[in-house]
């Protein structure tokens, strides 16, 4: 028994339960699971809070602020609140609730944080352009057989392997 190793749920069981959650989300709310949509709603909420005039004028944010309710009062934002509690609950149960920086050992903390920031930046742009992230676009899209979900799958994972080959040194130490 290796004590250093983290304990995780069986991936197939977790996937199966996650699939049932997708069904539940579609059954109750008519929505798929999503993440980037919630981030977007929060960002639009901030812009609307600072300058409602700008939010009205920008053609990307305008439909969201015209919805008749606060731009953050959406299903996806509430779902993200749930994600926060769910993740903390699980981490507490498995005893993983502590501050760490996840990285390959040969990468410095500073470098890892910069890379995470840049990676996030790319996701911010990519999700808005591509209409969703791995959960909203790909997972939920695939669950209803939408072509967009499969395009997203091929783009994110297919090109992921290409980029992973180029940036191998970020994750795997050279021998």
């Amino acid at each position: 028994m290796n004590t250093q190793k983290n304990k995780y749920m069986n991936p197939y069981v977790a996937g199966f339960l996650l699939g049932l959650l997708i069904i539940a989300a579609y059954f109750f709310a008519g929505e798929g699971l999503g993440s980037s949509g919630g981030y977007r709603d929060v960002a639009i909420g901030v812009i609307n809070g600072v300058s409602p005039e700008y939010a009205q004028a920008n053609s990307y944010t305008a439909p969201h602020v015209a919805a008749g309710h606060a731009p953050t009062h959406t299903w996806l934002v509430y779902e993200l609140f749930g994600v926060i509690f769910g993740a903390i609950l699980s981490a507490a149960l498995y005893g993983r609730l502590k501050f760490v920086i996840g990285k390959a050992p040969h990468i410095t903390n500073k470098k890892r944080l910069y890379l995470a920031l840049i990676g996030g930046l790319l996701w911010g742009i990519g999700t808005q352009l591509g209409r969703g992230c791995t959960s909203g676009l790909v997972l939920s899209g695939m669950a209803v057989n939408s072509l967009s979900g499969y395009i997203g799958l091929v783009a994110i994972f297919g090109f992921g392997f290409i980029f992973a080959f180029i940036f191998k040194s970020l994750w795997i130490k050279k021998n």
């Binding site: 069986n10 197939y12 069981v13 072509l147």
Partner: protein, 210 residues
């Protein structure tokens, strides 16, 4: 492979096999919920006035697509210049999809009054077709305002009303060939013979080998 993993795999495989024998999910068009539909019905944004339609016809606006939703018999007797005939009960037919699906046309539905065109609009809207218009008052209004415009009563004719009247007089000349002096409407132009050729919207670029 652990037993529960095997169980899940077997379950998914069984589901996949069952799925083969099930039918496809057909109407892909999103259907608008009753609440939103009601909201939009009350908004009146779908209406376009006979004056606006007349102006677009006279300017030969290439984006205008007039659709007569009355019966073919009525259509043959009289219709607007360049209008095509899609009877209200056939409006959701697959063959007509291209007219409503495009972002290119300003689709204007009309009937004798407003109600038949309104019904058609509602059916289209409930299947998420956006941007279609209804000619307010229909052909009756068309006759009253364009083919046979009456001078507004009294001396209290505001500038705006006068302008509108002059426009209508001009439109009357355009559509009926009436001389400006001979006030009343002459016989309307006969309906165009046969179905006007309407260019179908070009198919959108599809991905990959589509």
């Amino acid at each position: 492979m652990k037993r529960r993993e095997f169980l899940i795999m077997a379950l998914l495989l069984l589901g996949g096999i069952i799925a083969i024998f099930m039918s496809d999910i057909k109407p892909l068009k999103h259907i608008i919920g009753p609440k939103q539909l009601l909201h939009e019905v009350n908004k009146k944004g779908r209406y376009i006035s006979t004056d606006e339609v007349a102006k677009m016809i006279m300017e030969k606006d290439p984006t205008l697509l007039l659709i007569d939703v009355r019966s073919p018999e009525e259509y043959k007797k009289y219709t607007l210049d360049g209008a095509i005939n899609i009877p209200a009960e056939k409006i959701m037919d697959d063959s007509n999809k291209d007219y409503f699906d495009s972002d290119v046309y300003t689709v204007v539905l009309f009937s004798n009054g407003s109600s038949l065109a309104d019904q058609s609009w509602l059916r289209l809207r409930s299947y998420d077709y956006k941007g279609n218009k209804v000619m307010k008052g229909g052909l009756n209004e068309w006759y009253r305002t364009i083919l046979n415009p009456q001078k507004p009563a009294g001396d209290a004719m505001s500038g705006k009303m006068e302008k509108q009247f002059l426009f209508r007089k001009g439109a009357q000349v355009y559509f009926t060939g009436a001389t400006p002096v001979a006030g009343g409407a002459k016989k309307a132009k006969p309906a165009p013979t046969g179905k006007p050729i309407v260019k179908r919207k070009k198919k959108e670029v599809t991905g990959g080998c589509g």
